[in-house]
């Protein structure tokens, strides 16, 4: 399975772990140096950038603009499944969601509102959903079934968090249960 990953610079360690590939990071990249041509023929686009409600752009560290809706819409995403832990992508009328589908994305797995992931150490929250979704897609799951099984694994983690008293992980994992699969 060919995976391509883009993320904020500070998320690189975790995204490499969850996406299984070395991500393109923002910075040093930004919207002016962005090149999405590598997405042609990919099976999965894994994204972990900052998103804002209703904003037609995603951002890297320190507010650097990573990509605009127009750039995403102009990319070639036919047949590509997208997993994004970007905040607010799963909101109603998200302009970035529209851009992904305009580019031909097969499916988008995202959650509404804010999402939570670590920047280092063991995976939890959105990053853990991404890890399981990618692994399950790699053994032939459909996006719906991959997310369903991924959330089953998150539910197991939630039980561990409850028994270990880790409220921060518990909150992030419970929030991650809101991930959904979107189709055009």
């Amino acid at each position: 399975m060919i995976t391509v990953a883009h993320c904020a610079g500070s998320f690189a360690k975790v995204v490499e772990k969850s996406s299984g590939v070395k991500p393109t990071t923002f910075p040093p990249m930004d919207a002016t140096t962005l090149d999405l041509s590598g997405l042609r023929g990919a099976d999965l686009w894994y994204i972990d950038l900052h998103g804002e409600h209703g904003n037609p752009a995603w951002f890297g560290d320190n507010g650097v603009a990573a990509m605009y809706a127009g750039q995403v819409a102009a990319s070639e995403l036919h047949g590509v499944n997208v997993f994004a832990s970007n905040c607010f992508l799963g909101d109603d009328d998200s302009p970035m969601m529209k851009a992904l589908f305009k580019a031909g994305a097969r499916s988008v797995i995202a959650a509404p509102g804010k999402n939570f992931s670590p920047i280092d150490g063991p995976l939890y929250g959105a990053a853990l959903v991404g890890l399981w979704v990618r692994r399950l897609l790699s053994i032939g799951s459909t996006p719906d079934n991959a997310l369903r099984t991924a959330l089953t694994r998150i539910a197991v983690e939630i039980e561990f968090n409850r028994s270990s008293g880790r409220q921060d992980l518990l909150d992030a994992n419970q929030d991650a249960m809101e991930f959904k699969v979107f189709y055009k």
Partner: protein, 202 residues
Amino acid sequence: MNYTDLATVKNEILSGGNAVVSSQYDVLIERLISAASRDIDEYCAGAKMPASLNYFEMADVVDELTYGLSDVERGMVFWPHKPTVLSVSAVATRFSPRDAWLDRDVSLIELNGGSVYLWDSAPGERFQVKVSYNGGWGTSVADLPANLVEVATVLAARYFKEASTGLSDSIGTVELGIVSYTKTMPARVKAIMDKWQRVQPW
């Protein structure tokens, strides 16, 4: 294994206001029961493989090959090809066919419905598993959940009515009037079976 039997299907046909079905149709009904049972297998297992036949039958399965995934720094998980796994007698893993099988300690296994969790380090993120286990829902119609028997019965009775009386579904439209067609599966049957559909790939 079939998920309903002749007497149950004949009663179902009778309860639909039809006359008693003569025994001359028994061979046909038996064939339709098998067809309905295999349709249920295919729909719920999400696969059309020799091993997906009799998906719900409780059986001892030997050396089945499947994929496993490593868990987060704790162990590994895999999903044998039965809806429920009741016990595991042997597990071996390898990263790829180039590697030798490594036997695993089955006492480190935790069963959860159809998934098997092994508290041991995985040979990779994604790897091959060879597993011997007992799983499934029953060995006879009497052991099966009532709703599985009901689904198989409704489906077999429907196949019989389609063949014998030309039963079909119809829809009315302004442009075309009443159009007759045949659904591949009644909505009620599909709605029940959706709950049993295998989520993990074969």
